[in-house]
């Protein structure tokens, strides 16, 4: 079945440093979604990418969808303590009723 791999599993940075997490799928995706889960909280939807090569920005967050629609990345510029949490990617093939989640990248920040 479809697998979605996410790396790294953990990342610790100093506040102000940049952070990137990568997502790779074993199959072509119809779209990719990104979620953030704060410690002790529930996953919250951040964004969805649909088009091949698409790039979207949300303030300091930049999301990319690969040309082959099999990989994606989330880049945070100049991290802040509010960025702490686990970031998940999720995707599915065209017409899929269910999403497959990556294992997540847990981001911790030293203030």
């Amino acid at each position: 079945g479809q697998q979605v791999m996410q790396i790294p599993q953990y990342q610790h940075v100093q506040e102000g440093e940049d952070f990137t997490t990568y997502c790779n799928s074993s199959t072509t995706l119809s779209n990719i979604q990104w979620y953030k889960q704060r410690p002790g909280g529930h996953p919250v939807f951040l964004i969805q990418l649909v088009k091949s090569g698409e790039v979207k920005k949300q303030k300091r967050l930049t999301f990319q969808f690969g040309e082959a629609k099999k990989n994606s990345s989330l880049h945070i510029t100049a991290t802040q303590t509010t960025d702490v949490g686990t970031y998940f990617c999720a995707g599915g093939p065209t017409g899929a009723q269910k999403l497959v989640f990556g294992q997540g990248t847990r981001l911790t920040i030293n203030p």
């Binding site: 079945g1 529930h42 998940f88 009723q97 269910k98 989640f101």
Partner: protein, 113 residues
């Protein structure tokens, strides 16, 4: 936040006992999902529903059953709980007409002793 609530939020039970977790939504969304979250595994799909009485298995469905007798409620049942089912369970809903993003409940932490 989307109108989705889970109950109970916390439960401790013993091996071999039945457990039912409830997910209730007020959004009238068609799709409902049950995930479990464990360290190192992310979110894994247990079962999902695409309508009343329409359900299907996810990637980790063994030992779990679900029911959806009305749009707003999706029940997850562990017929005979085992320690390996100790986890945090999240319910999620999706409105297929709005781009497909999931809205998650607050989670139910289950401990099986």
């Amino acid at each position: 936040d989307a109108g989705i609530t889970q109950s109970p939020r916390h439960k401790v039970t013993e091996t071999g006992t039945p457990v039912t977790l409830r997910c209730h939504q007020t959004e009238n969304h068609r799709y409902m999902y049950w995930y479990r979250q464990d360290p190192g595994h992310g979110l894994r799909l247990i079962h999902y529903s695409y309508g009343v009485k329409d359900t299907d298995k996810g990637e980790v469905s063994d030992g779990y059953s679900v029911s959806r007798s009305k749009t707003e409620d999706f029940l997850l049942t562990l017929e005979s709980a085992t320690s390996s089912q100790t986890s945090v369970y999240f319910c999620a809903i999706r409105d297929s007409g709005r781009g497909g993003e999931l809205f998650f409940g607050e989670g139910s932490r289950l401990t099986v002793l």
